[in-house]
Symmetry: C2
């Protein structure tokens, strides 16, 4: 391994540890009792539905991947504007992300009936089964992510035929492109899964709850199984793919920025590249420790349940904060304390965003209660106040991220404010921002476990309801489910915050790809605006900005910003409408079954669940294509027309408005959901009152907000950066303006 220090091997080792524990938790879960025949049957329906969906989705994804891989191969081998490793890196990124989604979902669908059964014995057992099954997803994501990174490092270290610091630059910028595979996979998982889950949910609610007046998760509702499948494909597989992308993207972008920033000092360069990977590796081990601490006692209140999850997550976070200092100290990284400071800033920012999300979406606090109160004057005021609140709620997370950006930048340059933007300091500072993103995501193994736990608990509740289990079990699964709603909302805030920081890191590393692109084209120098001729290999980030005239008065940049901001809204609008259309087909199908299959509503006939699953699957697949292609094609088109300046404008515009829009949508949606729950708990007239009906309207509107369009924006802002990165060579070779 040439000059790679031995400590490198900790990285693949940690990846394997993660996979090992995932395997252990999976086996442990599989050994649990699956319950009655009826419970097994329901779980099988959901599992088959979920797998049918995944099969269908992977068919589409495989085609898209083949087309894109061929295109990248043509760029690399035909036009010669790209690294020849890109098509392969792209494929592995996609493959590992897909595999993580598959395993996570398989686990979740095995776990639901077992969780219901365990909850039959005690609350703690229910929590353990659900949470450790969620941990399978968390550990598989971080394990496969870090494994892919390690493997590519080893392969490229062996095959890249170069010496010295330039080699690491080429290696890291090449590795970055495997993020494109993860991004593309995540796009389809998030958008397709998001459309699926909400089409099924809205469809089931509109006909079942509103028209036929039967409760949620009632087996008489033909869309019930599809609704439960949706929780798995949207909230497990979609969320997993989203964070897989952020996780790999942040580590790889940090490595790329580090290899560029410290290029003139080979020893430090190597450390800067390994640092994010090592932090991630240690984070895995600490996540596993945290997972083992999660337990509760019988009769635990909501607060206690929340505290036991929180204890695990916070323990891991505190440990990794301390460990970051240790890692960087042992690595003998210059300014190790400052850079560890950037890591800790990222961690803290993640916690604050999570807390803010909880404040704005939980009905323990004023904002959501005010929305519930507005239900007294009907659905219109519920919508108005929910939108108003959601928009206001963007302030805290945005300001938190701003602080994180500035402080992690300043930390990395030891608060050398005067020289903030000298060429060297700029790159070091951006490295600081990127490693803050790594810090935020370092405990992903356990935070994702709390996310994936939500839909498992939700499905367990559905399973218990459909199988007609006793009052006590329902009470317990309800408690577990309510906890899941809170962790899901917090998880969403965390996913958005980390997506924004990751996208920023990717944006910064885009310039490095430009450098490599030039070298591929054989261009060695360029002329700056003051007439100076600079060797591309030595050019600073500021030189590139000067050469491509990336300044905010350049109309190309301004057009980019406008189009970027517009893309966020357009993408949201398309996915909102997609849910509307797909839900409409579901509504029609459920109505048809109620009409044509006699005896459904009396419970004498079984509805055709599979048909509803198929309709949701087909609808999601059909609807996800156009917005997805748009997200891939617009950055390419922008690059070809307006060049690097247009692309950077586009990324900044999409990041700025997409980030804020995503928070708004997630928080409005979450608050509407909990405002309904608050009314259902007996406030403002309780269940069945006009206020309740008004909050149901809010909840229905909130569904695509928080589970389809909002989360899809995370992908949009990262994917567009990834596309830009992969297309860097094409952009500089062929842009028109």
């Amino acid at each position: 391994m040439g000059n790679t220090p031995t400590i490198f091997w900790l990285i693949p080792a940690a990846a394997l540890i993660a996979l090992l524990f995932a395997w252990y938790f999976f086996r442990q879960m599989k050994r649990q009792d699956e319950g009655t025949e009826r419970m097994k049957e329901i779980a099988r329906y959901v599992r088959e539905g979920a797998m049918a969906y995944l099969r269908q989705q992977y068919k589409v994804v495989v085609i898209v991947f083949i087309v894109l891989a061929l295109f990248f191969a043509w760029l690399a081998f035909g036009l010669g504007v790209q690294n020849k490793w890109v098509p392969f890196a792209f494929l592995t990124g996609g493959f590992f992300s897909g595999l993580a989604g598959f395993i996570g979902m398989k686990t979740a669908t095995y776990a639901s009936s077992r969780t219901a059964c365990a909850a039959d014995r005690s609350l703690n057992r229910g929590l353990q089964v659900a949470f450790r099954s969620g941990a399978v997803m968390g550990l598989v994501v971080v394990g496969l992510g870090l494994l892919d990174i390690s493997l590519w490092y080893i392969v490229l270290n062996h095959f890249v035929d170069m010496e010295g610091p330039q080699k690491l630059v080429v290696m890291t910028t090449t590795m970055l492109t495997f993020g494109m595979g993860a991004s593309t996979q995540a796009l389809f998982a998030r958008v397709g899964g998001g459309i699926y889950t909400k089409a099924a949910d809205v469809g089931a609610d509109l006909v079942g709850k509103v028209e036929a007046g039967i409760p949620e998760d009632d087996p008489r509702n033909p869309a019930t199984i599809a609704d439960n499948v949706g929780d798995n494909v949207g909230d497990v597989a979609g969320m997993g793919a989203d964070l897989y992308e952020s996780y790999c993207g942040s580590i790889l972008a940090t490595a790329a920025l580090g290899s560029a920033a410290f290029m003139f000092n080979p020893e430090v360069q190597m450390k800067a590249v390994l640092a994010p990977m090592l932090i991630a590796a240690v984070g895995i081990i600490l996540s596993v420790i945290g997972i083992f601490t999660v337990r509760t006692r019988e009769g635990a209140s909501m607060k206690q349940l929340l505290r036991s999850l929180g204890f695990g997550v916070n323990l891991s976070a505190v440990l990794i904060a301390v460990a970051s200092f240790a890692i960087l100290y042992l690595l003998d990284m210059p300014n190790w304390g400052w850079i560890a400071g950037s890591v800790v800033i990222g961690l803290i920012a993640g916690v604050i965003i999570g807390q803010a999300t909880e404040y704005y979406t939980s009905h323990s606090y004023r904002p959501t209660r005010k929305i519930a109160k507005s239900a007294e004057t009907g659905p219109a005021t519920v919508i108005i106040s929910g939108i108003g609140m959601g928009m206001i709620s963007t302030a805290v997370p945005v300001i938190t991220i701003c602080f994180a950006i500035v402080l992690s930048f300043l930390c990395a340059i030891r608060f050398d404010i005067a020289g903030m933007l000298t060429a060297g300091n700029l790159q070091t500072g951006l490295y600081g921002i990127a490693i803050a993103a790594v810090g935020m995501l370092s405990t992903l193994g356990i935070t994702l476990a709390t996310d994936a736990y939500g839909p498992i608990a939700d499905n367990a509740g559905g399973n218990a309801q459909m199988a007609g289990l006793g009052e006590e079990v329902r009470r317990r699964t309800d408690a577990l489910d309510a906890l899941g709603n809170t962790t899901a909302a917090t998880g969403k805030g965390f996913a958005i915050g980390s997506a924004a920081l990751t996208a920023l890191a990717l944006l910064a590393s885009y310039i490095e790809e430009i450098r490599i692109g030039f070298e591929h084209l054989g261009q060695q120098t360029f002329t700056l605006s003051d007439g100076a001729v600079v060797t591309i290999a030595d050019a600073s980030m500021l030189d590139f900005m000067d050469y491509f005239q990336v300044n905010l008065m350049n109309p190309k940049v301004l057009v980019g910003v406008f189009v970027g901001a517009m893309m966020a809204f357009l993408f949201c609008g398309l996915t909102m409408n997609a849910v509307g259309r797909a839900a409409q087909s579901m509504v029609n199908e459920v109505r048809r079954q109620f009409r044509e299959i006699k005896g459904i509503l009396t419970g004498d006939a079984t509805p055709d669940y599979a048909r509803c699953v198929a309709i949701s699957t087909k609808g999601a697949q059909r609807e996800m294509l156009f917005p997805s292609l748009l997200a891939i094609l617009v950055p390419v088109a922008m690059g070809l027309v307006f060049g690097v300046a247009g692309v950077i404008g586009l990324l900044v515009g999409a990041l700025g408005s997409g980030f804020v829009l995503a928070i708004f949508m997630a928080n409005s949606g979450g608050a509407w959901d909990n405002a309904k729950k608050y009314v259902e708990e007996g406030n403002m007239g309780g269940k069945g009152s006009d206020s309740h009906k008004a909050t149901v309207v809010g909840d229905t509107v909130g569904d695509p907000f928080k589970d389809t369009s909002g989360p899809s924006l995370n992908i949009l802002i990262k994917l567009m950066s990834m596309v830009a990165i992969v297309m860097a060579g094409l952009t500089i070779a062929y842009s028109i303006f």
Copy 2:
């Protein structure tokens, strides 16, 4: 007048012509029959309510103006970081804007009963009275705007003790600051008026239509008069102040950019400064001609009515397009044809945005009909599809503005693409963008007339309803009102588009204010990143960007972009909630009156209209303060903390996301309104059906979207630029980072 050519006098002359015709149309309207005693009484109620509101608002505004003027005086005379003319320019801008709003609203409130009465005779007479009363507003706005500009030009030309090209730079950058007065006035007019109108509207609808089941504009509803007052204060005074600001802002920014771009050729410089004013002056005359052509014949269909308005507007637009070439040719401006091309591009962009708005919000087209169709599955799907459609509808206007930006830039530099961003070409190109904004707004005299016409026709309908006029009159006022809805939607699109271009022009001219700021501070040179020392007077825009490190990797810029994007959402959320709260007080008051004043619902007792007016007034004044102060303080704070780089990031972020958000909100709101009207015309079950109720929810949500939060964003993006411009000296003198 020194070296100012005689043709200058055309500018104040045109301003006086506008005011003369406004006076003429006003007298003409006043001579019309005001109708029955009952009609006069109702009109008086509305007029008194509107004036009471305006008095109250001006009280608040006067205080804010005094505080700000003192602050500016302190900056100028105390700290010495600002031009000593600024406090006075600020005050006149505010005064003239307020005066225009006052006259426009006074006219509108006199016109409503007279329109109703004229409609009693014939449709054409009704249209004439309403439209020409609207024209008073249009002409007063452009007349006072251009008068203020001319007066300041004369005053500064006399008093600025300088010679040569530097004098014009100082004059134009000083004049630009009077836009700050217009902006501040517009802020309160738009935000306060927007909250007022929707609090009254939502309050009146929720209790009157929904709870008590009485029709719109029923005299038994205590909030009816407040609702009619709202149309005047929001849609007449608010819209007028908004466009007054855009009108003056675009002309002044163009002049400032022109004086900087052509500083090295004094003769051309003078022409570049006069060109936007001359185009505006000729635009006034052509608008008057257009106004006189608007007439229709009895029994005209909606299409014919629309065509007669359209004819006047289009005639003015075509004439000004031709005249632009003539003006610039006669001015002997170098490259006159190309620069006239930029003007025409702005005009065309305005037309396209108007058309796109109509397509997305009129129920003659598919998008709105699809929203109406979604009402069959209840209010939730109405909201989802309306939001989805509104987000998608942002694409066309944004792409249009992008084309306008690039093409008007390229036109101005004669498509010298290779040298697109050399220092000289950049400034000339930005001058092209700014003059495109002037082109778009050149026919404001008539386009604003069609806007102000809407609420007059609406109020005429209300007057006819409350006074119990016959079936035939109602049919005619309904036709006039429906026409007004379409022109209002188109006008909103136009207002947003012009605000975006104006804000861009202001952003570009911000750099010029920085230059003047340095001179005030006595700093003569600065050092660029490559070590070169540049005299500030000779520094190009690119030198400033270099010195302040305004590049997209600078964390200060990135933080600015994030905060800017967030500000747009926060401002929207605050105004949405403000409407919710103010509407709630109205609901409580109406309920109280129904309960306590016996005989209201049977028509035996008169409701206490004045009390509702007072409640809406108080609510609006209270609620407008916080968001308004935020809009003023955030750019100041950003400048003090992150300096010029942060401010430019802030402006770009707010412009990008505010522009798109404004289109989304305006179009969703307009489409919901018309979807309801479509159902009321007998589709999807017609009035009283469940579908109708669902669309009423959409309409109620849409009200603050399209009439409060959306339009307020126009102000936000311009005002923040204006604040930045006025604070330029403070920013460079005292920024922390």
